[in-house]
Symmetry: C3
Subunit: 431 residues, 3 copies
Amino acid sequence: MNRETGIGKQMYDWAHDLFPVCRSITGDGVRSTLAYLKNIHPEMEIGSIKSGEKVFDWIVPDEWNIAEAYIADIDGKRIVDFRENNLHILSYSAPVNKKVPREELFEHLYTRPDLPDAIPYVTSYYSRNWGFCMSDKMKQELTDDEYHVFVDSSFTKGEMNYGEIFISGETTEEIVFSTYICHPSMANNELSGVVMATALAQFVKSLNKRKYSYRFLFIPETIGSIAYLSKHMSAMKRRTKCGFVLTCVGNEDHFSFMPSRTGNTYADKVALFVLSQSEKEFKKYSFLERGSDERQYCSPRVDLPIVSIMRSKYKEYKEYHTSLDNMGFITSNALKGTFDIYVKCIQVIETNEYYLSTTFCEPMLSKRQLYPEIGGQVKSDYVKLIKNIIAYADASMDMMDMSIVCQAKYEDLAEAVSLLVDKDLLQPFKR
Amino acid sequence: MNRETGIGKQMYDWAHDLFPVCRSITGDGVRSTLAYLKNIHPEMEIGSIKSGEKVFDWIVPDEWNIAEAYIADIDGKRIVDFRENNLHILSYSAPVNKKVPREELFEHLYTRPDLPDAIPYVTSYYSRNWGFCMSDKMKQELTDDEYHVFVDSSFTKGEMNYGEIFISGETTEEIVFSTYICHPSMANNELSGVVMATALAQFVKSLNKRKYSYRFLFIPETIGSIAYLSKHMSAMKRRTKCGFVLTCVGNEDHFSFMPSRTGNTYADKVALFVLSQSEKEFKKYSFLERGSDERQYCSPRVDLPIVSIMRSKYKEYKEYHTSLDNMGFITSNALKGTFDIYVKCIQVIETNEYYLSTTFCEPMLSKRQLYPEIGGQVKSDYVKLIKNIIAYADASMDMMDMSIVCQAKYEDLAEAVSLLVDKDLLQPFKR
Amino acid sequence: MNRETGIGKQMYDWAHDLFPVCRSITGDGVRSTLAYLKNIHPEMEIGSIKSGEKVFDWIVPDEWNIAEAYIADIDGKRIVDFRENNLHILSYSAPVNKKVPREELFEHLYTRPDLPDAIPYVTSYYSRNWGFCMSDKMKQELTDDEYHVFVDSSFTKGEMNYGEIFISGETTEEIVFSTYICHPSMANNELSGVVMATALAQFVKSLNKRKYSYRFLFIPETIGSIAYLSKHMSAMKRRTKCGFVLTCVGNEDHFSFMPSRTGNTYADKVALFVLSQSEKEFKKYSFLERGSDERQYCSPRVDLPIVSIMRSKYKEYKEYHTSLDNMGFITSNALKGTFDIYVKCIQVIETNEYYLSTTFCEPMLSKRQLYPEIGGQVKSDYVKLIKNIIAYADASMDMMDMSIVCQAKYEDLAEAVSLLVDKDLLQPFKR
């Protein structure tokens, strides 16, 4: 098994371990997930914000925990049981323990008639309800007049937790990766992002040299990013060079791209450049179709340079937010492919600079062993690339721009730039 | 008869009343036309500029009036008579009373061989001539050797008149509508604009609340706008938010658009936005094809933000500047349709603002009864629109921009913006 | 023979005279070429830079001269002789006089197997080698075991020469034409540019009035332009309004265009405007495909506004850099056509200005005899052009911009502008 297969398999295995945990935006499920990740990255810091704390326009909700939940028939036989699949319970369901007529029960059931075998994922964070989710097929079989509903859940003044890994580099400018840890048993839309962040943090730590610092956030979606921003917005605005929301990165599909609100940040540039260089086709969405934490990071006056490279985008695949988004829906191969794309993004970010030619006019390449000695004959592609880099090194283009103008692969260009810097023919230019 | 049909019919009736008047750039025809309009809008002020007064590069010409004009044959039978159609006389024709051989007469006749039944409209404001216009068919029948030509016209040191309706709003910024009152009996190219201005002034007066002030100008074309600008240019440049030349707005045809010289003024933006939202197709002309008072309003250093939404553009329909441009060529239905478009322009202008989101990150919609309580399910289009407005309210886009970005009808967007302002989630932003 | 045919024929004849000279980047061939040109333009100054002098990143090489060179067979029969075609010698070949086995000889032979009849042009300026160029067909016939190679060449501490014609105008702003004088017997890629510069200098001197000064440079390619820039860069940057590299301008083909590095200089604008107005089709290359002295003139921080209008571009025709690029490959007709294009460029550069209308609103044309007296009739194209020029004369557009906006030929527009300046309706505007 080579290293490449290795990291895909590793990510898949982590997701497999975390799959059964019943996560929500608060509670024990979040904490056990973070504990698992801290085992991999011991420097992870676990943050907490108290229930009831005001975070911008929102209030951190009470902590929710659940021990047991089922619907039983007249004979006490459990028809739906939370132990079998934690999607069965409406997330943040209030406790209940009573007999209810079928009509009343039905008002508290959520199904997907268009996907009769799927259990949907439904939440009611900010309004007290009780409820169950099940396959529409199962619902059709509920013909008794009365059922026993039992939910043993609790709301307590506790805290909302999140994890944070900070890896310092030569500068305080940061690359941010944000993913979320608030969904119960779903694979692509939740765990793929969590394990991708975990693997990328490993990769970043393995680098001998880092120009930038890196921050990995494992937070509850929406309320978590809002809460985090309410504490750290000005520091993030000051430090963030670019960032990515990691979500839906594990299924076999072409890549898709969610831009920032303005579509013209450095993150947009890097992501589109890497996708264009690496992929024959990918789908570019509009910010109108946003749906994850870019909603907060890119909101007016927050304006962080954060985008998302995904496989099948949330809301755009039928398994989304159902029990069909399970461990069979993601693959170690797809995870590995996405990992490679993000690694390319990191490599571009780490190496990208503006350069200025050190000489006036073309330098004499032959005295530096950069030129064939007999002139007038066809030049090699490599000499052409070197001459083009020098010709365009006017401090107005970064290496991505040069790569596009010179029609060269970024890797080839970066290698040639490095050689020319060694030969004192180029110097980096701070803008 | 509903209100909509009402205003179209009303405009048609006014045009019908004004059709027989023999207007030119000066004289009794202009004054009687303005008197008729002042009867509808008593606050109209009638302005005057003396004959011989220098206005920029021009001189206001002597006042011209005409009592009678005809061509008679040897037997005294009137072959062409001004009383039958005031287009028969060359506008600003000098007086004449003599017998002339046919050859000489022919040098003073104007016809349209391409439209043998039409009497053309011809003028000679700045060069003394006498002349008659007639159908080419009629000209072919003139076989006598000699004719009697009689024109009882006069040139006097009088004045050039124009009408002006000013309707004040909350601010001194003005919306300008300019139309002209110098053509004799022609319907689309003259009276349609006059009655449109009259109806729009009624509409503006009927508004409970006006952010902007409105100015309606009824002036002779070219010399009138030059004279008006020579008196008021700096005030107009200071106050005019946007404006429209009203002409050729009454026939059944798609809409057409004449941009300002630069094509990027606020008037261009409003007109193109409203046309794009309302019409499946419309024709966009180049400023090279200009022909009415935008020639003056958009001239270099005058540079007013003034455009024109028309039906068939002047010079682009065969009836133009002939007796075929008569009351049968315009319809109350077409007038009503154009009225609606200009009303939409006014509504956009009155409501359009830049907005800034008041919260950092997304606001919590559910606590304001703006969000469905059960999450994870498909959201309504209305909630999407609200979230999109807030997401893009970064003070860089006005409501037209937002309407385009959010792919929403302006009316829907304006209603949602209004709700969000009431909920303190948006605030207007002055730029 | 009319003047037009005249200049084409004249250029062809000059090229014919210069064709046999064995030029290189230094030596007697350059000096005799410059002497010939100084005979035509006695004010030409002959410049020199000493061998060994450092010019930016380069060193001026020793002067190279050659008296005789041949390959003889065992019997002393000359198989290849420099006297027959000066392309036979590797330019800057070191002296040699010895018997060599065929295998060793073959390491010093240059041929073009893809063009078996052509002698290629090969150089070794900066690395001491000896070598011969010949047709591949001839090489195939070399079956002896041993040959006698003889090169009587010399390297001396001498100088590198160039020619410069300066023609002063009303201002110190300069138009630069640069061509090169370093290739042996080749017609399109060398002499066509030399004779074009010579003819254009004659044309410029013949002008009664020159707004701009003109500088014609006859320099060795690459090392010559680098050396010239090393002496004059700041003056050139201060004074150069625009410039052109003259090369490959003599064969029968469509025109082609080499932009500056940025592609948006005044030279790019003039060249593309003239080509677009004059030619149904022409080929626009990318700066990636550059190959002559624009490599130096447009290098970062040199940044001169210099482009090239060619016929078949260097490297893009099969005869390039071979004995097939001979006097049969260029024609007086093609030279004349290119001359006409450059003359148009000069005429545009000399006349082009920004203009501002002197009046507010439209001026009264009729009092200046610029307008038909009878209004309401169709206007002539000329009146339309005059009105359009005045309508757009807002000091934001130069005459090329106006020509495009007004859809008028530059010549027609320039004539109308001149009339309007005479009538005090336009004034030039300095930007």
